[in-house]
């Protein structure tokens, strides 16, 4: 018996020693990164070195990858700092791995819903106030990337939702430009006119990211002035309006007609109208080139115009050894000229006001998207918002038979837990 115990102890000891060795070798790597970055994030001064930059992007396709690669290469030559672009296949996961290992990319695409988590744990530098073109960004976008009163990162571009109408079905139903809906009543009417022969009048994704536009038009939203307002009467009105039209069969979720998202349902002509962002233009050109469509602003609700906006920013890692150069690169990438080039390459809208006029004259058919920038609502940036919205979406899937007040009450209690 004793002999076995001794052997067991020996074995365990060997394992522990091996483990300790493995840990120290890893540990030194962790500490280099973690220790260096922590101080910088606090002091607000950017690090500077000769290190090369890495840019991690989650791309929508080859067009975007090439455009970003070209832009970064052009800057690299001009600034004399080496920079490489990496394409992530799962951006949130690869970012998390980079941060945990203390070796994150210097610059990366950062979604609004991820901002709070990374800013909260000190992974990001709040460099927004040091941007030379800070005042050029749309204020609502700046607000989107402000966490605990600090402007963290430069919005790289943005999109808004608008009403996309199938020209062929519209004309076939005897509707004209004058019929393009500007109020909820008109929207319901045209949706009813268009609903026939297996086509649903208006289809959109089963999520807050679409239904939320109606909440904005009713004067509601999720958070206002730091208070959760999910269960407000305005939101209840919005959901009731959507629910009523769904029951009538004139509105439908894309999933109800067997499509993955609103654009697919629209492209396959399962719905005559949809609510989507300007990314739909790419999908239409690539997948459904024969479908003619027009883009109109979303109709007004009881509280006027309203839409939602989506944006990403150029996040900068607190652990980056060369933040000065990274800041310079961000300024280059968000300049008027460069943003217009990106817009031409892959259809996004510039995040700066100085490029708006040029963009509108370049894309007259899509003007409705940019017009939305004036009244668009962003997604709240509290830690845990993503979970609340996921939960909200889960309940919205059952909106047709659900109770709007009950759904919104649960969202309210979830929001109250993270706001404040």
């Amino acid at each position: 018996m004793t002999r076995h115990t001794t052997r067991g102890l020996l074995g365990a000891g060997a394992l522990l020693i091996t483990g300790a060795l493995a840990l120290t070798s890893c540990g030194s790597g962790f500490d280099d990164g973690g220790g260096g970055g922590g101080g910088d994030a606090g002091s607000g001064e950017l690090t500077s070195s000769d290190d090369a930059l890495t840019v991690l992007i989650g791309t929508s396709g080859d067009a975007e990858t090439t455009a970003v690669e070209d832009a970064v290469a052009a800057w690299s030559e001009e600034a004399g700092v080496e920079a490489t672009v990496q394409v992530a296949n799962d951006l949130p996961q690869q970012l998390s791995q980079g941060f945990a290992a203390g070796d994150p990319p210097d610059l990366f695409y950062l979604a609004t819903e991820a901002l709070a988590g990374y800013a909260g744990n000190g992974s990001l530098v709040a460099y927004g106030d040091q941007l030379e073109n800070k005042d050029d960004f749309y204020p609502s976008l700046v607000e989107n990337f402000t966490f605990e009163d600090e402007f963290y990162c430069a919005p790289k571009d943005f999109s808004t939702l608008a009403l996309v109408i199938n020209k062929g079905l519209w004309d076939a139903a005897g509707l004209t430009d004058a019929d393009i809906p500007t109020t909820w009543e008109q929207l319901a009417t045209v949706a009813q006119t268009l609903t026939k022969d297996g086509v649903v009048g208006l289809g959109f994704g089963p999520e807050y990211q679409r239904v939320g536009a109606f909440m904005a038009q009713a004067g509601g939203g999720l958070v206002e002035d730091g208070e959760a307002i999910a269960s407000s009467q305005e939101n209840v009105d919005a959901l009731t309006y959507v629910q009523g039209n769904m029951t009538a069969g004139t509105f439908a979720y894309s999933s109800d007609v067997g499509a993955g998202w609103g654009g697919e349902a629209f492209g396959k002509q399962l719905t005559a109208m949809t609510i989507e962002g300007n990314w739909i233009t790419g999908a239409m050109t690539n997948d459904f080139p024969d479908v003619q469509y027009v883009v109109a602003e979303l109709p007004e609700g009881p509280a006027g115009k309203g839409t939602l906006q989506y944006t990403n920013c150029w996040g900068m890692a607190a652990d980056s050894p060369n933040q000065q150069a990274a800041l310079d690169l961000v300024q280059y990438l968000t300049s008027t000229e460069q943003q217009l080039a990106f817009s031409e390459a892959f259809g996004v809208m510039p995040s700066i006001e100085s490029a708006a006029e040029q963009w509108t004259s370049d894309n007259p058919d899509l003007a409705a998207f940019l017009a939305g920038a004036d009244y668009a609502q962003g997604i709240p940036t509290y830690d845990g918002t993503a979970d609340v919205i996921t939960d909200f979406n889960a309940q919205l899937e059952g909106l047709k038979t659900g109770d709007p007040q009950e759904i919104l009450d649960s969202v309210q209690s979830n929001l109250e837990a993270i706001v404040g």
Binding site: G11, A22, L23, G27, S255, G258, D391
Partner: protein, 391 residues
């Protein structure tokens, strides 16, 4: 007397003689595996265990001085409390429990059935069938999930087939309603009794625990059965081929029909294989991740959310690493408990006396008194052997 008793034969030192040095050699040969398992398995597990009881935020080393010990706070956040974290965990547990409850028995039964089928000597083209049944197991889950998403689309082939026989198929991937609730609704019950709806466990009311898998989850359950039964068929097949024909023949001589031979003779001999299949099935079913990650990500209505996916989601997407690790360890505990329980159920038991008597010829115990023998044998006719003995 005592002196002889305390002189054991094994007093010879193990470090002497021909076997000296074997221990060292043993350690040297096993060292690579110990190091590999230690570095890539044991240490990461211990690190995760630490993360689950710390407030590590996902930045830098979890062992840096800035990371503090928070005890069972992370575990408490997902199991007690009335917030979203608990409700999500409860929902995920509910979904996965139904998945396990349906997939494990069905895949075991199906794989056993397939194994018996392809084991039959009369079947033509056995090799082809064996390959065909095993094929889904070789294909990546991700590929099959993509196929499944297509097959079970609202206007996909499955619904087209259902429509052909007059059934209006559900919108599989968008239907969050539980199938048990649907069945109850069909007979007019749409609201549960207050005792079920008013009380909850892990933030999910008992009524919702009893909702059954959602329509979307049912499609994933079918997929689970489809992909794994081939692997388990192979295990059963190996076990079946290990059973010698003589026992079957003996049973035939005794007059057992095919049905009896399967239940009374074959199945008991498959117990080790059955144990393996059930254990692997239980472990696999509690760890459903690939399908959810590539396919539904919890939608619709969180009814395909599983603890494994929730753990990933909490860590990588929400930066709540402690909670993610805690969920992983709760899952680990559940798997261990289920395995132990299953081992206990399938343990080797002595044949019950009542059952044993069916197989035994009546014999007279040596110690039996005439009185007990008489009591035992009273209803039965006199044993010929006994009568002969008496005469």
């Amino acid at each position: 007397m005592t002196a002889t008793a305390t002189a054991p034969r094994r007093a010879r030192s193990p470090r002497s003689g021909i076997r000296r040095g074997e221990a060292a050699a043993g350690w040297i040969f096993t060292l690579p595996v110990i190091i590999i398992l230690g570095v890539f398995l044991l240490i990461p597990v211990l690190m995760a265990l630490w993360v689950s009881v710390s407030d590590w935020s996902g930045r830098g080393s979890p062992f840096s001085s800035a990371v503090g010990f928070v005890g069972i706070e992370n575990y408490a956040a997902v199991t007690t409390g009335d917030g979203l974290a608990t409700r999500d965990f409860g929902t995920a547990m509910r979904n996965n429990a139904w998945y396990v409850l349906l997939v494990v028995p069905l895949q075991t039964a199906l794989s056993l059935f397939l194994a018996v089928l392809v084991n039959g000597a009369v079947l033509r083209g056995r090799g082809l069938f064996r390959t065909a049944f095993y094929f889904p197991s070789v294909t990546a889950t991700v590929a099959i999930m993509v196929l499944w998403l297509f097959l079970f689309n609202a206007i996909g082939p499955v619904n087209a087939i259902l429509a052909a026989i007059g059934i209006d198929g559900p919108n599989w991937w968008a239907d969050p309603s539980g199938i048990l609730h649907n069945a109850l609704a069909a007979v007019g019950i749409t609201d549960g009794p207050a005792v079920l709806t008013q009380n909850d466990f892990l933030g999910v009311s008992w009524w919702n625990w009893l909702a059954g898998p959602s329509v979307a989850m049912s499609a994933i359950i079918l997929m689970g059965i489809f992909t794994t039964s081939g692997t388990f068929m192979l295990l059963f097949l190996a076990a079946l081929q290990n059973i010698g024909p003589e026992i079957q023949e003996a049973a035939m001589v005794d007059g057992a029909n095919a049905w009896q031979r399967f239940w009374r003779v074959t199945l008991p001999q498959l117990k080790p294989a059955l144990f393996t299949v059930l254990t692997l099935g239980l472990i696999g079913c509690w760890q459903v991740f690939d399908q959810i990650y590539t396919g539904t990500q919890g939608a619709p209505g969180k009814t395909t959310l599983t603890p494994a996916y929730l753990s990933y989601d909490a860590g990588f997407l929400d930066q709540h690493w402690g909670q993610g690790a805690a969920i992983a360890f709760i899952l680990f505990a559940i798997i261990v408990l289920f395995t132990i329980f299953q081992r206990w159920v399938l343990r080797e038991r002595p044949v019950s006396r009542r059952r044993a008597r069916q197989y035994q010829l009546p014999t007279r115990p040596a110690t039996a008194t005439p009185a007990t023998v008489a009591a035992d044998q009273a209803p039965s006719p006199p044993d010929p052997a006994e009568t002969r003995g008496r005469s």
